[in-house]
Symmetry: C2
Subunit: 333 residues, 2 copies
């Protein structure tokens, strides 16, 4: 910048102001400087700017296990929407397992303006660091930890809705395959489902699960398929589309028709589950809106003013596929 100023015959401060459209710089000088900057390919050093300005323009991103396409889709939204707001993402973690200390420290070292945790697992280390250092924190797709705001889908309602629809369509022996029993997402979805089943006076649903993976869903599907036909459930909820896909794969491999003999439904609305051969009936998370709200929450807390933690819950959208027998009133439309 110094050399640019020398070349333009002005002071460095004038260059700085000209490039940021400070109204106090006369138009002709500004134009000359902008043209010159363009010519020599000058780009301001954001690191230096952050030093004086206080804000780095960086948002820390902690991603869940990306073998679940849901997180990949979430990431894509995060990148796009953050960019639209002029923020950049510092990708500090992606995958299963806890975040390493050295990695979490990077959040502080790079002075991120905020942090986005999109993982159903408890990434307590990153959350703790944010809390201890007043870094605004928003969690997506999970309830808030001790500190931080959260945006998630109404998981309980999603589970309940699917139960209601399956029951209305005449299913009587229901089952649910859960994910990780320590994640709120999995628990709430299963709870909502089971609550409605009980409310309908139907027998207690069969329960499987333990991990949010295709393999675990597949395993559960195999167990279900191996049951004698009269004991077999006639509808199964996989608490995530990934699990539901596994269930469906196992059932079909065992020669059981879906939805002919057993209905399968999932929750998340990932692209992979919507296409053939699954065409999953599922409750889609409103990803676009969720990310929008998440960034709004961050933004409101980024300029230093303290705000109470906030929890936003959005309703999911029912996606009618062909993996479950549904009430006629729905499939007709």
């Amino acid at each position: 910048m110094a050399s640019l100023a020398r070349a333009a015959g002005v002071a460095a401060s004038t260059v700085s102001r000209a490039l940021r459209n400070d109204p106090r710089i006369s138009p002709d000088v500004r134009d000359r400087i902008v043209a010159l900057a363009q010519e020599v390919g000058y780009t301001p050093n954001i690191l230096a700017r952050s030093l004086v300005g206080g804000s780095s323009g960086l948002i820390g991103l902690v991603l869940g296990p990306v073998d679940n396409p849901f997180y990949a889709e979430l990431m894509q939204r995060a990148v796009t929407q953050a960019a639209a707001r002029g923020w950049r993402l510092l990708l500090v973690h992606a995958g299963p397992g806890p975040i390493e200390q050295a990695t979490a420290d990077a959040l502080l070292q790079y002075r991120v303006d905020g942090c986005l945790i999109t993982s159903a697992e408890l990434s307590s280390r990153a959350a703790r660091i944010c809390r201890d250092n007043q870094v605004p924190l928003v969690m997506v797709n999970r309830v808030a930890w001790e500190h931080g705001s959260a945006v998630s889908c109404d998981n309980d309602a999603a589970g309940a809705l699917l139960a209601d629809l399956l029951i209305e369509a005449g299913h009587r022996r229901l089952a649910v395959v859960s994910g990780n029993p320590t994640t709120s997402t999995s628990i709430e979805r299963a709870d909502g489902f089971i609550r409605r089943v009980r409310a309908a006076g139907l027998p207690e649903p069969l329960r499987f699960g333990g991990v949010n993976s295709h393999a675990k869903g597949f395993e559960a599907g195999q167990v279900i398929a191996a049951l004698p036909a009269p004991d077999r459930p006639d509808a199964v909820l996989g608490v995530s589309d990934l699990i539901a896909m596994g269930i469906m794969d196992a059932l079909r491999e065992a020669g059981i028709a879906v939805p002919g003999e057993i209905s399968v439904v999932g929750i998340d609305g990932v692209a992979a589950a919507r296409r053939p051969p699954y065409r999953m009936t599922t409750v889609a998370q409103p990803l676009e809106d969720m990310m929008e709200r998440a960034l709004d929450l961050l933004n409101a807390r980024m300029n230093g003013v303290h705000r109470a933690d906030e929890v936003v819950t959005l309703r999911g959208d029912l996606v009618i596929g062909q993996s479950a027998r549904l009430p006629a009133r729905l499939t007709a439309g």
Copy 2:
């Protein structure tokens, strides 16, 4: 840091040296400072350090469309391996389509030490920016552009290997479903395949494709299924696992047995293709090694010394699944 120095009764430079284990600081002073820093929760500001040191510790990451699980898997490796080297990732793009100018500019503004482009599409804008500003650039899974090094799988050999195996197993009417015709990855894989088919004196393979997506593979599969049985190919290569999955889904939906009536093979080795119901026979890209080499290449160019651009090609690993009829010598073992 200034307040820390005051609290410890030393100069700021001493604190700086103590925290970075400068041998010139006496052990007792160092221990006292480290303990104090720990206590007050002090974390050095990397932005400021970069300002004087010249290196930001950031690597720009440009990701391809993450609806292809291959890119998600690649990203996971990038995060893990970069962290192991003490680098952080600045995620500037993820998805299809070109990278925006403002986004690409961020690479310069944040003074990334290097850039990783993992997209088969030509992200010419990011590449151009890197070239114009001497930012080390490594492309993964595609050939080098005008500027930059590259790491990729031996795509031609992968296509050729699969062709040879299918032919050896007795297939006679082959087909190939390509991806984006502008990506080297797709072209090379198809070329290697076709070359071997011709060399074997077999009829010219049927060709489909145009986009690297499940939908396009599905579409091709439907067309193939609709052919009168005698004209139908008996083996199909999807140039990516994603495409191959689409093909398989369409064939099975049409009631055609895979691999009973038609063998299907893919290339990439993504997790989704290896599990049921696909159990794809494919050539897996050695992701771990590819990323390792990519970061090596970046590292060698990051300390300022100029090095000639380099292209590294790694051989893929044959994964024997159950989606294709293979020579007995392989399936027996």
